[in-house]
């Protein structure tokens, strides 16, 4: 579904490449998490996958980027945008202001794509129902909380029925309840068969919601695999990623010789309970 091969990218008027010979392969229909230190290039990678690099940003891009069967570099941005959706961090910046109600704001992308009205009404209604935001329909998008605005932003993209949804730290500006709302939506979207590429810091939530997790460091993907293994890897610190509370607790216990170094290091709460109870729970 998504294939990046040997991707190297340098922003305009800069000398150092942000991505260096990056290879990445993502299969269809899963939630694929990508972690990495701040500033390492997660947003850059998000833009490469969604086509905004090179079409909007310029700069020098080498390598092959194939997404949902399209060669991103050769296609137009419009072609890519219909297949790949992008959601970013700040909910307020994704409310276009072009429309005065949530319902019309969600329909905005469909209007731009030239979708017939009957189909627009059907799709918008379906997305609003699926996201459970019926009571927000007639409200002004500017009168919503951050979490609600982010839901509207995601709905505006999902309604365009992209095969792939790229989400660049979608919960970094939200409080815990807003974060829960968004991750809940991520599950629902993945259930419909959309491939979700989720660039995130919140490791524990990635453990729960992602099927594969990859680590971005030094301009490349340096590790990729099941969340349990990747998030317990001891090189994460050197890559600037950090660990979940449960992993840190387990490691501390091991160095204090309070726990065994043989069992698999826990990454989630359930695993931690099992680990610390010696497998009894």
């Amino acid at each position: 579904m998504i294939e990046l091969a040997g991707v190297t990218y340098t922003y305009p008027d800069t000398e150092r490449a942000v991505l260096h010979g990056l290879d990445l392969s993502i299969t269809e229909g899963i939630v694929f998490g990508i972690v990495g230190a701040s500033g390492v290039g997660k947003s850059t990678l998000a833009k490469v996958i969604s086509g905004f690099i090179p079409h909007s940003e310029g700069g020098e891009l080498e390598g092959a980027v194939t997404v949902a069967g399209i060669d991103v570099v050769k296609a137009t941005l419009l072609d890519v945008v219909s297949k790949v959706g992008l959601v970013t961090q700040n909910p307020f910046n994704q409310i276009t202001g072009a429309r005065f109600s949530v319902e019309e704001e969600i329909a905005f992308g469909l209007e731009n794509l030239g979708i017939p009205r009957d189909e627009m009404i059907e799709r918008v209604g379906a997305v609003i129902a699926r996201f459970g935001i019926q009571e927000l329909r007639d409200r002004s998008p500017f009168a919503l909380s951050g979490g609600q605005q982010q839901l509207v932003a995601i709905a505006s993209i999902v309604v365009m029925e992209p095969a792939i949804l790229v989400m660049d730290e979608p919960t970094s500006q939200l409080d815990p309840s807003g974060t829960r709302l968004v991750f809940d939506i991520i599950d629902r979207v993945a259930e419909q068969g959309t491939t979700v590429v989720l660039l995130e810091h919140k490791l524990e939530l990635l453990r729960e919601h992602a099927q594969v997790v990859a680590v971005l460091a030094e301009g490349r993907i340096v590790l990729s695999g099941a969340p349990r293994e990747v998030l317990a890897d001891d090189r994460l610190d050197q890559w600037g990623v950090g660990s979940t509370r449960f992993t840190s607790a387990a490691r501390a216990a091991i160095s204090a010789e309070l726990a065994s170094a043989d069992s698999a290091i826990p990454v989630s709460l359930k695993e931690a309970v099992s680990y610390f109870s010696g497998g009894r729970r």
């Binding site: 008027d13 800069t14 000398e15 150092r16 079409h55 909007s56 137009t76 941005l77 419009l78 945008v81 202001g97």
Partner: protein
Amino acid sequence: MSSTTAEPNKTRNLIFIILGALVVIATYLYLIIGQPTDIAAGLGPSALIALAGYLIGAILIGVGAIHRLPTNTLVLIPVAIAINIVVGQLTAALGLPFYFDSIGTILVAVVAGPAAGAVTGAFTNVIWGLTLSPLALPFAITAIVIGVLAGYAARIGVFRTYWLPPIAGLVTGVIAALVSAPIAAFIFGGATGGGTGAIVAAFQAFGNSLLASTTLQGLLSDPVDKLITFTVVMLILLALPTRFKQRFPFVRQYNVLPGTKAKKLD
């Protein structure tokens, strides 16, 4: 999508702009040269010609210019207009003898060029007309002129120095006053709000024609207002970190601001 306008559209937009400019210039010349300058003319055909000519010209220029703007320039404009309106209103509320309602216009013009400045100016008057007073609409062409002049001033390097922006502001203010004078005289009879009507009447009392009076009233306030605004914009841009300014293609291409020449940096 960076070139959403196909080639035939590019020509069409240019034609709109040039046509609009010609309409405005023709209207202006007709009013200045061909018409009696006292208020009797205010109830004659010159009022309609002034209104129609300036509005049609402004619409043509505005539409032609807006199509030339890529999305990353377009998103600057609503915020810049909001600045114009909020600062302009506050200035009036404070009772200051200035307008300060074109800070956003000039700011956008300097970082994104004359077309962007024109659109910001035009739509500031549209929004002002929609929310505060419809009397602002006929003056849209003045706001366009200010945006265009500021943009071209930036393009030729005025904002690379410390002493040229105030002068450019002064010149822009003079031209703005000259453009506004026929609008104030022929459409509004000299009374456009605030204390302007009284000042215009005072000039008339000294024997000046209506057109001359509105021109003099404009020259009292516009040049100083624009001088200050250009200077404020220069200071704002000087204080802004380079990485914000560097991102604008217009700034890089024409080396608009000190230290932003297009070059490879780390």
